[in-house]
Symmetry: C2
Subunit: 545 residues, 2 copies
């Protein structure tokens, strides 16, 4: 760090200190000075086709990396990525939104500068609704402190923040020295002690405890701690649809994904019959709970999260999530044997293609289960791409990425870009419906530019099939693309078209072997074909009516 | 209108009463009931690839049609089109945003429903910043009145409004009868009389008056009134970059587009030397004023707009824009002869290709000037596509569409879709840079689906060329697409690639003759090649420093 950094330089240094090495975005005149500064720094700038895609990519990068950043111009840039930032807020991802804006000097006289809408503060006012902090660095005296405060809040809450730099502030060097700020939140020792004692007591009595390891276990990097705790006391674990892959799914204590009626039946029964449910960092959404088909009894709850600690029917206000989980993991409990055989994950069936048989969702995902390896990251888009993927057996802590709660269509292809920007040794397997692909699939352009070997499976069921089960109408039909011809547009990549099981087997083998560039497989499915998981959900909703 | 319409039915009726026949958008579960109602109505639903594109299209439709509508689902849909709505706000377009949301009944207990971010009101709170009214139809007693209020405000202000229907309110029939509301704003008669008298006096004395006919002349449908006024008193007219084509550019009184230093020199001199400047509905932005290179003397102003009426240095608060313009047009003034020869529009040069010569911006636009006809609508995207197009000679009141103030890249292709949805007999000529095309060019998919004969010219200068003149960096480079191969992906259309002038002539002839589907021409330009208009601007800015 040089002696007297400017506001722009300080921001770049602090982003680096948080482990951010890549920034996604698109330049524009109000942010060009900062872009030049970024280009001259060790930071890598990753251009995308449009800002929404940059937002999705930066969100996915943050999920993998701990924190991510997107940098765009004023209003036309920023207001294009509101939805991606909202998704990061909803699903707890530490995304830093950086934006340029008109210089403070050129705002005098309140002129109608291009890109302006309403007040000069409109963009900040909007981002205030989908971030935990939104600041304009318009004062050199406070700029450094504000940068630190934003980044610390993003880390603490695992949610987005917004930092706006008027273009004439980028090069300003603050007049006074400054020492970096670190926010910490501490538990009240007595409350922590009481909570842990009570949890230990419940656990000691429990005959059949189960851990539900949720999203925040991943965001707070507590996966290993939770796993060690489970192993020491032989407590089985589930993940949720939002946290899938937080636990290595090959582990003998792993039961599966719990998601109410959408769960495999044995998993649902095991969890709902438990006499001590340890909910760690679970986000109690309709998606996590199988559209509220879940029957979880609060009588037996130990519920700990970033926002709340609840045991049975009372709450502890001053206990930090991380402290509680670590305390629990360190607790000495009577050693117990497992009370009964666990519902085992169904063994992978040997898969042989039925020649000329049309591909179905069920058969497709059975086949995919067999091609996953440790370097692959399953990146799902919304709809049956997401529901069906829950049945795939993934491994490791970041092997499954999907917008499983906010469910914003179009997330997957930009997210896949981020996977290999984060770590080029990973290999994304993108599972995306045709409707979602039409929204953001052009971002394959950046995947082509960077030479990544992403595999994209387009589930081509000719429209919004999940919606056809809710309300049929011509509005669910979309224009049929020749998706596999896109490599010709982007000048690289392999495009394949699949109708039958034998074609599927051959195409997937070619895709896996094709490591020089991306592969896109256009998989034709019947317009009404859905996965077993989505069938379970529809049945569960019907039964709960 | 049936006796007792539901809230959803009433909304559809009132949209139709405003002349809206088509709604753009994408369905989602929280808006599916209303989508089914739309499909059963005479309204046509136009699906797009994603919501931002739907927003751009509906904005363009509103500019052509007087009012337009976009209908999307909660948050993931709505928050994706904030930028398009902001553009409609900034450039005064009466765009109605309709969105579904969770039912009022299912909000009880404050559950974390999918698509939710923060409070249930987050989406409305955000749209409040970029609309003139934002309502949630959560009360049957007030729903009809709120619908009417929104639509009337959109019409009066020519700006967007936001209407959210919780999904369990769509079918609710309000308990009490209701009579439709029409808002009117009236001028104070004395103020109007005084303002008109003063304007007449100024005009009677003026030796060289000029009318600047701005955006609001188009939005308020006052083009014919202004033209008749100009003809009767032989007052020359200019348009602005935002209002280009509000006046038939072949008219003998038409001087050209005034845009400060970006204007043709003779136009700039004529306007800036005028002794009575009649500014009608001009939006005083940096873009209208050639990035503030304009030298207009307020000493001689008659400035009338939707927001203000100013003569010289004083303001009239209670005079409506339409009343003033109509009063002015009806005024009896001494008949005057034109004081001097007008700066004539340069004659169209006969254009013959120079064989094998690389295409340049200057030569391209000279050529384009010769192929425009009365059915063509020039739809411009941002950058040199916009600056250069200002020199094209267009005709009629809606022959030029571009985001000339808000300058949001990616506007043009979705806007072109709207042109032919509005009137299939029009033929859009889209002029779009490669950077902007990569943002939203996939919306050609809908143009292909509907069989429109749009012509798309991609100015392929390998990146963000306008920005290269502001700050060079690798971030201005983009991935080279084979744009002309896109017809293979969309299954229809003609794709052509052009490097030289003879190829350009042949490609444009083929494009004009190809009326069965869209044509995309990939025009290679040097990465540093810019138009004469952009050269004038850079020179003007340099001189004013």
């Amino acid at each position: 760090m040089q002696a007297n950094p400017s506001i722009g330089q300080y921001l770049i240094e602090r982003l680096q200190a948080q482990g951010i090495r890549d920034v996604f975005g698109i330049p524009g005149d109000f942010v060009l000075g900062f872009y030049q500064m970024l280009e001259q720094s060790p930071m890598r700038v990753i251009g995308t086709c449009n800002e929404l895609n940059a937002g999705y990519a930066a969100d996915a990068y943050a999920r993998l990396n701990g924190m991510g950043a997107v940098c765009v111009t004023y209003n036309v840039g920023g207001l294009s990525l509101v939805n991606a930032v909202a998704g990061a807020y909803a699903e707890k991802s530490a995304l830093v939104v950086i934006t340029g804006s008109p210089g403070m000097a050129e705002r005098r006289g309140n002129p109608l500068l291009h890109h302006r809408v309403g007040a000069f503060s409109t963009q900040r006012d909007i981002f205030e609704k989908v971030t935990v902090a939104a600041v304009v660095l318009d004062d050199p005296e406070t700029a450094f402190r504000e940068i630190d405060r934003c980044l610390e809040l993003a880390r603490l809450h695992q949610r987005p923040v917004y930092i706006e730099i008027p273009r004439d502030m980028v090069d300003v060097v603050p007049p006074h020295p400054y020492r970096s700020l670190t926010l910490t939140r501490e538990s009240e020792p007595e409350a922590l002690r009481e909570a842990l004692a009570e949890a230990r007591e419940l656990l000691a009595k429990a005959r059949r405890p189960v851990i539900l390891a949720g999203l925040e276990v991943h965001r707070c990097r507590l996966g290993d701690t939770v796993m060690a705790f489970a192993e020491r006391h032989r407590i089985p674990l589930c993940s949720t649809i939002l946290s899938k892959s937080v636990i290595d799914e090959r582990h003998p204590l792993y039961l599966g994904v719990y998601e109410g009626a959408m769960s495999r039946e044995a998993v649902q029964r095991y969890v709902e019959d438990s006499d001590c449910l340890i909910l760690l960092g679970v986000f109690m959404t309709d998606m996590e709970l199988g559209i509220y088909t879940a029957a979880l009894n609060p009588e037996n709850w130990i519920f700990a999260s970033l926002e709340d600690l609840r045991i049975r029917h009372h709450h502890f206000h001053q206990v930090q999530f991380v402290d509680f989980v670590q305390g629990l993991a360190a607790a000495e409990l009577p050693v117990r044997s497992l009370p009964e055989p666990l519902p085992s994950h169904p063994p992978r069936a040997a898969w042989a293609p039925i020649a000329a048989a049309p591909v179905t969702n069920r058969r497709l995902f059975e086949k995919l289960d067999g091609i996953l390896d440790e370097r692959m990251v399953v990146v799902c888009d919304v709809g049956d791409a997401l529901f069906a993927s829950v049945d795939l057996g993934t491994q490791g802590a970041t092997q499954f990425i999907g917008p499983a709660y906010y469910t914003s269509m179009g997330f997957a292809v930009p997210a896949a870009l981020a996977v290999q920007v984060h770590d080029q040794n990973l290999r994304p397997l993108v599972i995306v419906g045709d409707g979602a692909f039409q929204m953001t699939g052009h971002e394959l352009s950046s995947i082509a530019r960077l030479g990544f070997n992403t595999i994209v499976l387009v589930l081509n069921n000719k429209g919004y099939t999940t919606e056809r089960y809710l309300a049929e109408g011509r509005f669910n039909d979309i224009h049929p693309w020749q998706y596999h011809r896109l490599p010709e547009v982007f000048g690289s990549g392999l495009g394949l078209e699949v109708h039958t099981e034998d074609e599927l087997e051959e195409a997937l083998a070619r895709a896996v072997a094709h490591t020089g560039a991306f592969t896109l497989v256009n998989i034709h499915l019947d317009r009404m074909d859905i996965s077993p998981a989505l069938e379970r959900l529809t049945r569960g909703i019907r039964e709960s009516l």
